[in-house]
């Protein structure tokens, strides 16, 4: 598994007696757009939380660009280049769209300066504007995040994740709750983003990921089930059983 950008080795996550992940090992190749799929309760979100630093795994190791990052604090993840967009929209509600992105972008420039006026940080302002433009929110820059429509909040979410200049972008169900049109726009955006960096999605809409991703990883009951191209996954007997058995 050399050359992988992110390696997950034998990761187990327990919550009390419940085993959410059971000795999962996978590796993600740089530059690839990968999706993690699986039926509800497969452990997708737990897996995502572990690799994005929300909590440290009960057992196992995580390596990013060859470096062991198991148990690193949440804020360190953004600094080393792993950003996550959240499944449940998770923005700074009372701040404007522009402020949301600016705060996220500020991490690279300044974290603990007390006396420098931030209004003078022109590069940061411009960067936030560029990112808002990128996700199609330029016209809404001064709107309070809480007043944005659901789809717009999701777009803001992604602009914030991008603001930290991630090498690895993790997206937790980026199209959750979106209308078909919004979903189309989002898929387009994901394709563009994936051209520039490694992107990993969690998604339960099979059709969506089949057309979008280069690699798929299937989890089932907290265990690794299969990995391969969409074609391979489609023809995988285990995967068919799991999904057909459910539907």
């Amino acid at each position: 598994m050399s050359g992988a950008i992110l390696e997950v080795e034998n990761v187990t996550q327990r919550f009390g007696k419940f085993v959410a992940l059971n000795r999962v090992s996978v590796a993600f190749q740089p530059g690839k757009l990968t999706a993690i799929i699986g039926p509800n309760g497969a452990g997708k979100s737990t897996f995502f939380n572990v690799v994005s630093g929300a909590f440290a795994p009960t057992q196992g190791r995580i390596r990013f660009q060859g470096r062991d990052i198991t148990g690193l604090a949440q804020h360190e993840f953004a600094r080393i280049g792993i950003a996550k967009s959240f499944q449940i929209t998770n923005v700074f509600k009372q701040l404007s769209a522009h402020e949301n992105v600016r705060v996220a972008a500020q991490m690279r420039e300044s974290r603990f300066e007390l006396l420098r006026p931030r209004a003078g940080m022109k590069a940061l302002m411009a960067k936030a504007d560029t990112l808002l433009e990128r996700v199609g929110l330029a016209a809404l820059r001064d709107k309070t995040a809480a007043d944005l429509a659901h789809g717009q909040q999701r777009a803001l979410e992604i602009a914030m994740a991008l603001a930290s200049e991630p090498v690895l972008l993790l997206m937790d169900e980026p199209t959750a709750g979106m209308s078909p049109e919004e979903t189309g726009v989002m898929m387009q955006l994901i394709t563009e983003l994936a051209a520039e960096r490694t992107v990993v999605l969690v998604e339960h809409k099979m059709k969506l990921v089949m057309g979008l991703c280069e690699r798929l990883i299937v989890l089932h009951h907290g265990e690794f089930l299969a990995e391969g191209t969409p074609e391979e996954i489609r023809n995988n007997a285990d995967v068919r059983r799991v999904y057909l058995g459910q539907e």
Partner: protein
């Protein structure tokens, strides 16, 4: 036009506040009340840094007001320090107590944070109450005599209330300028982000625990300065300075004036103390009157006096700005 003016005032908020405070003693019935409002205004502003801007409700801020007062007083009474050095001693001691209390309290959130700060502040209260030799215990610390202030050979009569007001204003102005700078800094954006969504702030790459500790210490230092100035003003330090009711007052002043606004807490302190002053002339149960007014504000004007005024001005100004 109105928006223009409003924006300009907001941009130069420290200057606007100072212009107001320079004239403030003229509109107050007597100077001592003006000085009190100045000091408690600063106390509430310091508290608001933590409560209004970072979203952490401390019930223990009396510790910082009290420690600032006591250490300033002890430095003068027992140490024979010059008054200005004593003020710095008060601020430094408060910041240090803030560092210890903050270090312990920021591990908890919400109501637990409030309870831990309350408990720690009670420990400070008890400690000062028992250290009678230094603090005068139940009787408070007496004999903080500062009669003249020597300013490069220019002697100011500190017993003259109007002189006292302006000397104290110099410190308050410096502190307000500092707080405003912090709020406008990149760090100011971080604490607001923490208030809005702590998890997301961490995911954005900010060390939430460190930021919380820093803002806790800053808040303690500002409240400590208010305490030190109060010791000079009263020339005694009552043990009540450390009482939890004093912590509650900071919360009331902030809510009354408008939490999360720069000047709101100051307005809150002014309203609170003015009401106290007026109501005590009629009844010893003045707290009941203040309580009723407080309830009316919390229920019907949750943005507080200043917050409501700002809201109203903004709404009036907004349609014109569109034209």
């Amino acid at each position: 036009m109105t928006t223009d003016l409003l924006n300009r005032v907001v941009r130069h908020r420290v200057a606007a506040v100072l212009a107001f405070l320079l004239l403030f003693p003229l509109v107050m019935p007597y100077e001592a009340l003006a000085i009190n409002i100045l000091i408690f205004g600063l106390y509430a502003v310091g508290f608001n840094l933590l409560f209004g801007y970072t979203g952490m409700l401390s019930f223990g801020h009396a510790a910082f007001l009290g420690v600032g007062s006591y250490l300033c007083g002890i430095a003068i009474v027992s140490g024979g320090w010059p008054w200005w050095a004593a003020v710095f001693a008060g601020v430094a001691a408060s910041a240090l107590v803030g560092l210890v209390m903050g270090f312990l309290a920021i591990r908890t959130r919400g109501i637990y944070f409030s309870m831990v700060t309350l408990a720690l502040a009670q420990i400070v209260y008890y400690g000062f109450y028992k250290a009678e030799r230094w603090t005068g215990g139940e009787n408070g610390l007496r004999g903080i005599r500062v009669e003249t202030i020597d300013l490069l050979g220019w002697k100011l009569d500190f017993l003259n209330p109007i002189t006292k007001y302006y000397v104290i204003l110099v410190f308050v102005a410096a502190a307000l300028w500092f707080v405003s700078r912090v709020l406008n800094s990149p760090f100011g954006a971080v604490i607001e982000a923490i208030r809005e969504n702590e998890k997301r702030a961490a995911a954005c790459g900010f060390d939430v625990a460190r930021a919380k500790l820093l803002v806790f210490v800053l808040s303690a230092a500002v409240c400590g300065l208010a305490g030190a100035l109060r010791a000079l003003h009263l020339s005694i330090v009552p043990i009540d300075s450390l009482h939890y009711l004093q912590s509650g007052q900071a919360v009331m002043m902030c809510l009354l004036g408008g939490m999360g606004t720069f000047f709101g807490p100051f307005v809150g302190a002014g309203v609170f103390l003015y009401l106290e002053d007026v109501a005590t002339a009629f009844t010893t149960h003045w707290m009941a009157a203040v309580g009723v007014i407080f309830m009316v504000f919390v229920l019907f004007f949750p943005q507080g006096v200043w917050g409501s005024i700002l809201f109203w001005l903004n709404r009036r100004a907004a349609p014109r700005a569109l034209q």
